[in-house]
Amino acid sequence: MVKQKIKQVIKQHKDDNDLELIAATVHELKSPLTLIHGMSSMLETESYGELNIKQKEQVRHISKASKRLGFLIESLIHIEKLPSSQRLQPVQLQSELQSVIETHEDKIGEKDLTIKYTPKKLPPVLADPSSVYQLLMHIVSSSIKYAPVGSSIDISTKLTGEFVAMRVKDSGGAILPKEASSIRSRFGKHRQPIRSRSDSSGLSLYIIQSIVEFYGGLLSVSSLSGGSSITVKLPISNQLDLFEE
């Protein structure tokens, strides 16, 4: 059953003509992004002369934005290559999660957020480590982005049957069930009814959904009072044989 589902997902990806559009778009984005990233870096290091405080601040924003864009492009490349390049192996979700949280320390500090997370001893999941990294980066980044200043983000992990489940809960606006059902609408405003998250393009959630589905996992989102939670379940690594042809 699970094997059949995985094969179906792989086939769906292989057949998805949209992947070609993603590949072409991503390639076209690389050159302008190289210029934005490179030139903002030169300005930031004052290669063209000294900047005043306001100019430095603005250039830092450009630089940060270009890095964010770069990460999105990397994610799209990752999604596009999933059917052909995944390296399945046991991955410790907790240690990857810890590492992803640490990479966001500056942002967490800037917004005075509290991350409530206690790592548990759990079996490894079966996935490509780079997919797990992409997945966790998008989930955690999104939560940090929308969480109000001074609020808390609760992260919990547990074993449920043949899956490791991770839930991330924040108070940065709700995700309605209607949106949850339209996650697959790649560039749709999946969070459009939610004013507090209306600037979301839906791309992050699409990337999350694509990765989770590809590995035979499950994704659920739920609206809470003033917040939302996202839960992903990834199969544990003793199901390795199910991926073999």
Binding site: H27, S31, T34, L35, G38, M39, S41, M42, S47, G70
Partner: protein, 122 residues
């Protein structure tokens, strides 16, 4: 250091070359594989920075040509491309055999990063 910079995108080439010149390198900019080979016929270089996707040909073809001439065989090459090495239809070993000393992905490489990589060859 005398550097031949092979890049078809003028703006990207200018951006990187500006930083390299600021760090006291001499940079000649070629915009195609053929132009690079023509320039190499006339001038000597200490290092080549080479893009992979070039009009009319590609960086791998340039490398193969380079390595087939004794005079050019020893020139170190840094590849600077937005094509990831794993996406090339050649093996990692083949890239090494072609004498690529460093492979940098443009999108992740600032002009300062490139200048630092170049400085390692001084």
């Amino acid at each position: 250091m005398r550097i031949l910079f092979v890049e078809d995108d003028v703006e990207i080439g200018t951006m990187y070359a500006t930083q390299l010149v600021m760090e006291e390198n001499d940079v000649v900019h070629a915009r195609s594989a053929q132009e690079a080979l023509d320039i190499l016929d006339e001038y000597e270089f200490d290092l080549i920075v080479l893009d992979i996707l070039l009009p009319g040909s590609n960086g791998i073809a340039v490398l193969q040509e380079l390595r087939s001439y004794r005079d050019w065989r020893q020139i170190p090459v840094i590849v600077l491309s937005n094509v990831n090495p794993e996406d090339l239809e050649v093996s990692e070993q083949h890239l090494k055999d072609l004498g690529i000393r460093e492979y940098l992905v443009k999108m992740d490489t600032t002009p300062q990063n490139l200048a630092a990589a170049v400085a390692a060859f001084a």
